[in-house]
């Protein structure tokens, strides 16, 4: 599906920014984690990265927002290389959600969200608080604004983490196994929040083990193994007609 048809379908404002990597390599010592990864997530689309643990999925996400610097290759945002940019500015354009939520436990839910808004975006306290409440409302947790994260369930914490990332008004969102640490009954709510975001036209790169989500929400599924994208395509093709033996074996294990 192209960006235009998506936008027409949802009628929502779309993120006009796509994200791509070109032949990205990264080693930790002798461990060659990424071995030439090419990736293309068109604007306002969702790509899901699947694969066994240790295949380099999470590392790839961290290269996209430069929490890790690639040894070689390029990272493109909106078609332009970002490796020369100030990484702190780049990261304001790329939101990230983590497996373990990583909310700041010593701050209230509201303060988790306003911290970046006041310190990085230069919003006043009131403006930041207002925007925090808007984004908390989106994930159905405005009533928890003054609670500390430790008092929330995992699912609520992850939705707060999503709100925290979205409040920075990123152009691209990265999800690193956002539901892997959740109790089964809490997964659905977080996936629904993510699906909403996708349908509103956010550009999303999602590392996940939720094959159902990948199948129904993503326009593109990439299967990674041993630091390479082994197979990529539309979810239908990837799930129904895997071409490589490795993907067949992986799918037989997870489905």
């Amino acid at each position: 599906m192209t960006q235009q048809t998506r936008a027409r379908r949802t009628g929502s404002p779309t993120s006009g920014v796509g994200v791509a990597t070109r032949d990205v390599h990264l080693s930790f010592g002798s461990n060659h984690v990424l071995r030439g990864v090419d990736l293309d997530v068109p604007a306002a689309s969702t790509a899901c990265v699947i694969g066994p643990s240790g295949s380099g999925k999470s590392t790839l996400l961290r290269v996209v927002n430069r929490l890790l610097e690639p040894d070689s290759g390029d990272v493109l945002l909106d078609g332009r290389s970002v490796l020369g940019d100030d990484p702190d500015v780049l990261r304001q354009r790329v939101g990230m959600v983590f497996q373990h939520f990583n909310l700041f436990p010593h701050k209230t839910v509201r303060a988790n969200i306003t911290l970046g808004l006041t310190r990085l975006k230069g919003l006043s306290k009131d403006e930041a608080s207002e925007r925090a409440l808007v984004h908390l409302d989106r994930v159905g947790l405005a009533h928890k604004a003054d609670v500390r994260p430790g008092n929330l369930s995992g699912g609520q914490q992850q939705r707060v983490a999503i709100a925290r990332a979205l409040a920075m008004e990123p152009e691209v969102m990265l999800f690193d196994e956002a539901t892997s640490a959740l109790d089964p009954e809490l997964v659905k709510g977080v996936l629904a929040t993510m699906a909403d975001l996708a349908s509103e036209g956010m550009t999303m790169l999602v590392v996940t083990h939720e094959m159902g989500f990948a199948r129904s929400v993503a326009q593109q599924v990439l299967f990674m193994d041993h630091g390479r994208v082994v197979e990529a395509g539309e979810p239908g093709a990837v799930f129904e007609a895997p071409r490589t033996e490795r993907l067949q074996r992986f799918l037989s294990q997870v489905l």
């Binding site: 927002n65 929490l67 702190d88 500015v89 990261r91 304001q92 790329v94 939101g95 990230m96 983590f98 373990h100 990583n102 909310l103 700041f104 436990p105 010593h106 911290l115 970046g116 310190r119 990085l120 928890k144 003054d146 609670v147 500390r148 994260p149 430790g150 008092n151 929330l152 369930s153 995992g154 699912g155 609520q156 983490a161 925290r164 990332a165 920075m168 109790d183 009954e185 809490l186």
Partner: protein
Amino acid sequence: MDALNTVWDTFFDLDAMRAALPDMLRVGLPNTLILALFSALIGTVLGMVLAVCGLSQRRWLRWPARLWTDVFRGLPAAVTILLIGVGLAPLGLGIWGPNPYPLGILALSLIASAYIGEIFRSGIQSVDTGQLEAARALGFSRPSGMRLVVIPQGVRRVLPALVNQFIALIKESSLVYFLGLLASQRDLFRIGQDAAANTGNQSALVLAGLFYLLITVPLTHVVNAIDRRLREGRRADGAAAEEPGAATDPAPSTQLAISQEPR
């Protein structure tokens, strides 16, 4: 019975105590508090600098911090106090005259900084790496993320250990007597010790001891209170979560001081 009375009088002669009390209150107590407070303050600031340097990614910041810590934690307090208080005295004489306090405070601060630096370092290191990662993912630089997110959590966890260090400092402050104190510069210990030496009766020293206990024992209760709050607190200050499985994974801030998180 006579022997028992003698022992009692040696330690608990109320008249001897009463004689020493005015000096204890007017001179000894303020001086001990000045020594302890200033060196705690300076030691805490230096300790934080040491902790941050010790955790730096830059080797040239890391190893001086390491060396500093090893030296001032490894030397006997008396040696450090004498070396600095006596060794630098000629230098101090030109600046603030014949007052051993600045150098005494400096020496105590250096000793305290080594211990406090290690306390802070362990606290900061116990904060999950995901915290800094999350701060950086929002767009904070590494130093900002440390300052706003990691260090506040790390310090919170080691508050009990920090207060313990302050208690040690209050006791160690008595060692400044090595530096030779004028009558008006004597701390609690020195006043008790002088009276005991003059009269051959230990009661004034016992009184000095009581003063130390009066300061340190409440502080140990502060430690326990903080510890309790860190363990249970936080839980009670928000409405209970409604979803099932709520609040089952402990927030890092509620974990025991200095404990490493199992990750």
